[in-house]
């Protein structure tokens, strides 16, 4: 974030190889999803900041926020954000393990990519479960 004089990427920094000539592989999908989910949860983080500001702003603002979150589109968006966050989390763990020089074999990387997808679905379901979303409604 330091204020340097960055130069645009005019071919001097490597980008992904030409996708057209590469056989599809799950690690490619995991790689680009790491970036895409990063952008998604960046917007989600700004949402969390607004939620916190609403909490500080008093009951009326907080209730407005809760109404939006608890509406069906709000719940769908919240779930997708949770999926994105959990995937990005798993991808981050993979990257830290790679930084330690482990898990870099293509087969291992493929397996951990699939594990990340599984985690991205199961962890949010778990969060909704502990939030009581699947409990029988109170009588």
């Amino acid at each position: 974030m330091a204020a340097s004089s960055p130069e645009p990427n005019l071919g001097s920094r490597p980008l992904s190889p030409h996708l057209q000539v590469w056989r599809w592989h799950v690690t490619m999908l995991a790689s680009i999803l790491t970036r895409m989910t990063g952008v998604g949860i960046s917007l989600g983080t700004l949402g969390v900041v607004i939620w916190l500001a609403a909490l500080a702003g008093g009951p009326a603002k907080f209730v407005t926020m809760e109404t939006i979150i608890r509406s069906p589109p709000g719940q769908v968006l919240l779930f997708l954000l949770a999926v994105a966050a959990c995937f990005h989390f798993a991808a981050g763990v993979r990257h830290l393990v790679w930084d330690a020089g482990r898990g870099l074999h293509p087969k291992t990387a493929g397996v951990t990519a699939w594990l990340s997808f599984a985690f991205a679905i199961l962890a949010p379901v778990g969060l909704w479960w502990i939030a009581g979303a699947f409990a029988a409604p109170a009588p």
Binding site: S5, L15, L52, L55, P59, F89, G92
Partner: protein, 115 residues
């Protein structure tokens, strides 16, 4: 003239990893805490006013926002090919993340001490 680097790559690499290691702990804590929140406004307010939680939220949000600024920066550097556009977007990135950090800290201050 450009070799494609801005001479801050090592610092960026380290900062991205330091924040990600911190977020390995803070993110599960935040998500589980939010999932367990109960009692509407009063419940959320009481939870966020607990010193441990207020501090945790502050550290979580500042770490997240910094990590986010680093990540968005790389994406802009990779995919925006016009120098002026890129510099404006990098400026917006810094501005938005720092503003969000200031809003977070003020909100937490207000919740803890605002009465």
């Amino acid at each position: 003239m450009s070799d494609g680097g801005d001479k801050h790559g090592t610092g960026h690499f380290i900062a991205e990893r330091v924040t990600s290691i911190a977020l390995m702990l803070l993110t599960p804590w935040f998500l589980i805490s939010i999932a367990l929140l109960d009692g509407g406004y009063d419940g959320a307010r009481a939870w966020a006013a607990e010193p441990v939680n207020a501090l945790g939220l502050g550290v979580f949000l500042v770490m997240t926002l910094y990590h986010m600024a680093l990540g968005v920066r790389v994406i802009l550097e990779d995919y925006i090919f016009d120098r002026d556009t890129m510099r404006v977007l990098l400026g917006i990135n810094t501005f938005v993340t720092l503003t969000a950090a200031a809003v977070s800290v003020y909100a937490l201050y207000s919740i803890s001490f605002g009465g």
